[in-house]
Symmetry: C2
Subunit: 437 residues, 2 copies
């Protein structure tokens, strides 16, 4: 008889895994061990709860625990923290309110997610320090904001979460200073593109780049410090049990999300899935891959057959009034990887120029040998977020600049110029390639 399928972590990856396992095997015993008091919520929505855009924290939860327990017959255990993994005995050591117990498994799916980096920033006494990673984090921070005691805040880190958090705090009437050790915001973009975002951020909040947070906090003594200095894979338990790790310390998996430990799969922010453009594993902890790798891992762990197609590094973020999107490789990433690459930049428009609401849309196209499309970055007040998906599809299909320029893209004056900005940048890249040739 096949024993329990145990999932470590009840986040997007974990609940996707458990649900997929249930679909693959209607009879299997499925246990989810979640360390916090909440499961199945969207991390990416947390800043919008802080800001008040999403008033009710519960609405971030896709399904309540009862749904999983009753409808999907998943034994979801909250406040159950896996602290060790005994691969030889196929047991997880779990700390609960009642002490540490052992939970046996036949198949294990590790979705232990990510942990906020906690840089050793000295914080003045009496200053509240928060991170924004769990629903509990967000609820606590929201309660603090609701108390009216926060007039000034420092956000440490100017990545996706840092900027989203700065926007949220600003929306709550807090005077915000963003402090970033590096010289730019959003280092997942090339510098000239990030500079456009930087300029926009400065309209709304104070931004200190190339700056250590410690002295700023000591001098300003803000009411609140939010640490948004990135996420590390929480791969500790599996790694301690001998699982191989790769980029950033994330777990290495095959395309079925199997680790090199027997009976152990992994998914979500603790793994480094295959990156199709890099051709190797990469650590890009984002929601869609968490959901999808979870589904693949759960299906396979339950005896089904699924493969993960990999990521191409697509991401989008709202930064105040800007849509900021990227996919594939930046020029800097390509060069760091030793890939010969060129960037072509154009600033086009989001709609026909005569149509009200047309705004500038900046597009950077990164292309390599033979005109192969390697990536794109888009920034504008509208039209960036989903246009990037066309390039994501182009990367998936291995299209080149000529292919991109030949795409039959939708046109109507309210939605696009007659030459879509993606076609404009592709045509500009063609001209550059022709000049070089």
């Amino acid at each position: 008889m096949t024993g329990a399928l145990v999932v470590l972590g009840g986040g997007a990856a974990g609940m996707s895994a458990a649900s997929a396992a249930r679909r693959a095997d209607p009879d299997r015993e499925i246990v989810v061990l979640e360390s916090t008091g909440h499961a199945a919520y969207g991390l990416c929505g947390l800043p919008y709860h802080l800001s008040g855009v999403v008033p009710d924290a519960e609405s971030l939860v896709s399904y309540p625990p009862a749904f999983f327990r009753e409808r999907r017959r998943i034994d979801l255990r909250l406040h159950a923290e896996a602290v060790a993994l005994d691969v030889a005995r196929r047991e997880v050591h779990v700390r609960t309110a009642g002490g540490v117990e052992r939970v046996g498994y036949t198949d294990l799916v590790v979705t232990t997610g990510g942990t906020p980096s906690r840089p050793p920033v000295p914080v003045p006494d009496g200053t509240a320090v928060h991170t924004v990673r769990t629903l509990e984090d967000a609820v606590a921070l929201r309660a603090l904001l609701d108390s009216g005691r926060v007039r000034t805040a420092a956000v440490v880190g100017a990545g996706y979460i840092g900027l989203e958090t700065a926007e949220a705090l600003h929306a709550r009437g807090v005077r915000v200073t963003v402090v970033e050790r590096l010289d730019g915001v959003l280092t997942t973009l090339d510098e000239p593109v990030a500079a456009r975002v930087e300029e926009h951020v400065r309209v709304h909040v104070e931004l200190l780049l190339g700056t250590d947070a410690g002295p700023v906090l000591a001098e300003r003594r803000p009411d609140l410090v939010v640490l948004c200095t990135g996420v590390r894979p929480a791969a500790g338990i599996a790694a301690a049990a001998g699982a191989a790790t790769g980029p950033g310390g994330a777990l290495l998996v095959d395309d079925r999300m199997r680790t090199d430990l027997p009976g152990v799969w992994a998914a979500g922010d603790c793994v480094a899935p295959h990156h199709r453009v890099l051709g190797r594993p990469a650590f890009v902890p984002l929601g869609p891959a968490a959901n999808r790798t979870g589904r693949v891992a759960g299906t396979n762990a339950a005896g089904g057959d699924a493969r993960f197609g990999g990521v191409v590094g697509t991401a989008v973020v709202k930064v105040f009034d800007l849509e900021v999107a990227r996919t594939g490789l930046t020029l800097a990433e390509a060069r760091a990887e030793g890939v010969a690459a060129t960037a072509t930049d154009v600033t086009s428009r989001s709609r026909a120029k005569y149509y009200p609401g047309a705004v500038p849309l900046h597009v950077r196209l990164v292309h390599g040998a033979g005109g192969r499309v390697l990536g794109a970055q888009l920034v504008g007040r509208e039209g960036a977020a989903k246009r990037v998906d066309v390039v994501a599809a182009a990367l998936h299909a291995g299209l080149d600049v000529d292919d991109l320029a030949a795409l039959d893209l939708a046109y109507a004056p309210p939605y696009s110029p007659v030459y879509d900005p993606l076609l404009v940048v592709a045509q500009a890249a063609q001209r550059e390639l022709a000049r070089v040739a």
Copy 2:
């Protein structure tokens, strides 16, 4: 010595051709013969001038005649109507205010565009009858609307232009009845998708389907009738000179936009370019292809080398508050073509479900043998217009349903659910295919 390059028609295709020819050959004599008093304007913007969204008709003109004449040294002749083509002598017979003259050419680019169908609808005496095809049409109709004498209008035809015109008239406070002979609106969509548009149209204007216009006009006696019953290729001159025609009477061209007449190229709404999904020429008179085929024809006519990659049938239209988009083949089109096909429908959301402004987005995915993606249709208050481009790229690359389901699409709560609606429909199609297999 190489003689003049003559372009018949100063619309998007014609001015694209002339400009591309100038880039390909800085010294060539280039003549454009345009029958109306305006050149280089966007047809697709005309409804927005009627509605007042675009107050100034001149803003629809991309560049004024002086720009072409002075900056690009293009001999743009307005009010010059080509009436016949003498291929043996390489002469065009041109009617101007001064009579008919002959203009010789070495290379000719025919961009005579489209002509509104004029069905034999009996119109009551005293009722103004208009079409919306040229800038002059729009200016005249706009003046009539500005006069305040139009309180009721009948729009004959419920295609793209009919619905855009109905919206424009409605925005001007006119009571509008749309009369369509067929049983649905937008017959370029499958019926169940078009039904969603129909329901939305009925919220704003009266819609009479399956109805002959004549009796309605006789009974209602509206102040204004606008005929929007489609466009035929204006291929007459070239066809009369012996050029081969294909679907709908449009000119047949190769991928360099060469007709089968010596020295004669053609582009824009008068041609049937290659349709990549159908694998044959098709008449789809839309702005992007007009611009691009014009550019290709002009480049080649001037001795350069360019090819047109074909269309996949992508189109988008704003219908009141809906974005309506399509690409590839509808299920009906596929079946009419003898292509085995299935449609998968899902209604997803434009944003994360908890994010304000999330609205239903309906997606129909049409797929064929082996799961090959054949087309898509999207309808929603937001998120349809540019999402369709991902499927257009998929069609270009020949992706299948599994590929589409594996795309790494952008996610952030303000822009998409974590599974983009395109992934949701692709996953649904995968399940359907698995059931059948």
